[in-house]
Amino acid sequence: MASSVSILDDAGRLGHVSRLTRVRGSGWWIWVALLAVIVLFAIAGNWIAPFEHTAQEPRAKFLRPLESSDAGFHLFGTDELGRDVFSKVIAGARLTVFIGVAATLIGASVGTALGMLAGYRGGWIDRIVMRLTEAQTAMPMFLIALLLISSLGPSVWNLIAILPTYIWPTFARLIRAETIRMRSSQFIEAAIALGCTTRTILWRHLFPNLGSRIGILAAISVGQVILAEAGLSFIGAGVQSPDVTWGLLISGGRKYLTVAWWPTVFPGVFAGITVFALNGLARRFTDVGRGV
């Protein structure tokens, strides 16, 4: 892409393609700052939250945002039991981020391992892995998750087991393509010539070179998992009370939407901003994010 941009630069009118890099180059620190705040909420939420997120205040139901009760100031208002919405949103960050990261770690490991193997070995392994990714992509995962959760019972661990299926095919396909591209490069040939075993080549030579790709894809995947989890929790097949995630909070506020918008809107804003920041940051670094 870089070379074609410079060619286009000289081609007069098409030259402003190069401006693209400047658009991408600015403002990335905003995403980092936002994500840092979310991570801070996830790690140190207990100390940051102004209230206990389960603390009820019967005389202060449905306080609007920025209103105060006897107990104190409610930035995002209160819900149907007088619980502080801001504290609930902060409390929701922990499990949301945990599920997102845990499911991504599993999905990324499986996808990367299969992708490297398929790309490096080729042949029947490659064909099987590719067919599996196709089949996985063609699965109506939302309903399958519903089916599984219905017989397993909803729990955080079941979710973490199911959610990686949303993301591993993307890892497998991308890493496979990268592996095929690198397989014929000189450093791999040198490693083969030196008599390295396949495992050494994959793990010591190939894998470190895939690091940046995996990192970028992982950032996008955390966002995908957060959205998938939110959807499942929204229909009641995900996280169950007393656990809290943003998806569950959106679902909880749904019944009272006509009375009070804030218990529904704020958790969604936080989920959206988190995924937005992850996607924005990934796109800042490369184009792999497109189409995922």
């Binding site: 286009l8 693209l20 080729g122 063609a138 939302f142 017989s151 998806g247 959206g272």
Partner: protein, 332 residues
């Protein structure tokens, strides 16, 4: 290990030279065969996951059920027999259109007709969603791709990224709140009239339109970077002439494929979540209701129908791409 591996592409024209040796009929047959294999894998996965993971009988039984009662339910579901017998029944049932009976939400009615009754509602919603996705994503994507870095491009990029990043069912809630509750433009619950397609359609359009915008924009941008554009420009052809004559024609096929993929993704899940959000009487609503009561056969029938539609949509797109790609090649 040095032999170059032929990468299977998804019919986006990269493999055109390699494919020229095969006839179009062969290619079409191969795509159908691939689709059939994927469909078989998907249906098998549904069967295995439903039986090996968790226990439908246990979750269907009331909490205070005795072991005998749970066994009775298991026998009724046919889950007490060997896995191979069940598999035989499952596949022959698929062929005969018999997917067992509902246990809870419509006692003793066949599960598949229950799902197929709702197929029309879901289908109409997916088409409305597709329409709004194209309206929101395709033309804007091309305009943004032709003028990268412009204000339109930057605003479009921002909105598209927001559209794919924020939970779409959350957007749906906000739309209900603003348009139905506060402005009273449409009723909150769907009444089946043309107006009731608006909010769920737009909700799908925000998500899939955002994705389409990004995909179409970068496809257009890629096309701009190709050497024939520079050749055309150097011949003195105006910028918009290049866009109209060459880029639109070449981007068209890619866009068609991407629109098809987005349609398949709706059947993969998004439409069902939107149905739940808007209480739309389709397959998603039926299956989420069935899940509340652990009505295994109904959920399974819903999953199978959704899976068939995902595979079918992908297959149709692939076939169209094969046919159009070939004729485009013959034309050049």
């Amino acid at each position: 290990m040095t032999a170059t591996l032929i990468e299977p592409t998804r019919g986006l024209g990269f493999g055109a030279r390699r494919r020229r040796s095969r006839s179009r009929a062969q290619l079409v047959l191969r795509r159908i065969r691939d689709g059939a294999i994927v469909l078989f894998l998907v249906l098998t996965a549904i069967f295995l996951l439903g039986r090996l993971v968790g226990d439908p009988a246990e979750s269907l039984a009331p909490i205070d059920a005795t072991q005998e009662e749970v066994d009775q339910i298991r026998a009724n579901l046919g889950l007490d027999r060997p896995l191979l017998t069940q598999a035989g029944e499952y596949y022959s049932g698929l062929v005969r259109g018999d997917m067992g009976e509902s246990f809870v939400i419509a006692r003793n009615q066949d599960a598949l007709p229950l799902v197929l009754d709702r197929l029309g509602a879901t289908m109409r919603l997916t088409l409305a969603g597709l329409l709004f996705s194209i309206l929101l994503g395709v033309v804007t994507g091309i305009v943004a791709g032709v003028r990268p870095g412009s204000l339109f491009d930057r605003v479009g990029n921002f909105l598209a990224l927001a559209g794919v990043s924020f939970p779409y069912f959350w957007f749906g809630q906000i739309l209900i709140l603003i348009v139905a509750v506060n402005l009273h433009w449409v009723s909150v619950l769907p009444d089946g009239g043309p107006k009731s397609y608006f909010l769920p359609g737009v909700t799908l359009g925000i998500h899939h339109g955002g994705r389409l915008f990004q995909l179409v924009r970068s496809a257009t941008l890629d096309e701009l970077g190709k050497s024939y554009v520079i050749v055309a420009e150097s011949k003195g052809l105006g910028y918009y002439a290049v866009v109209m004559k060459h880029i639109l024609r070449n981007v068209g096929l890619v866009v068609m494929t991407m629109v098809g993929w987005e349609y398949a993704r709706m059947w993969g899940g998004t439409v069902f979540l939107v149905e739940f959000t808007f209480a739309w009487p389709g397959i998603g609503k039926l299956t989420t209701d069935a899940a509340d009561f652990h009505d295994f056969n109904v959920i399974q029938a819903g999953v199978v129908v959704a899976g068939v539609f995902v595979v079918l949509s992908n297959l149709v797109v692939d076939l169209l791409a094969t046919v159009v790609d070939k004729s485009a090649e013959a034309g050049t």
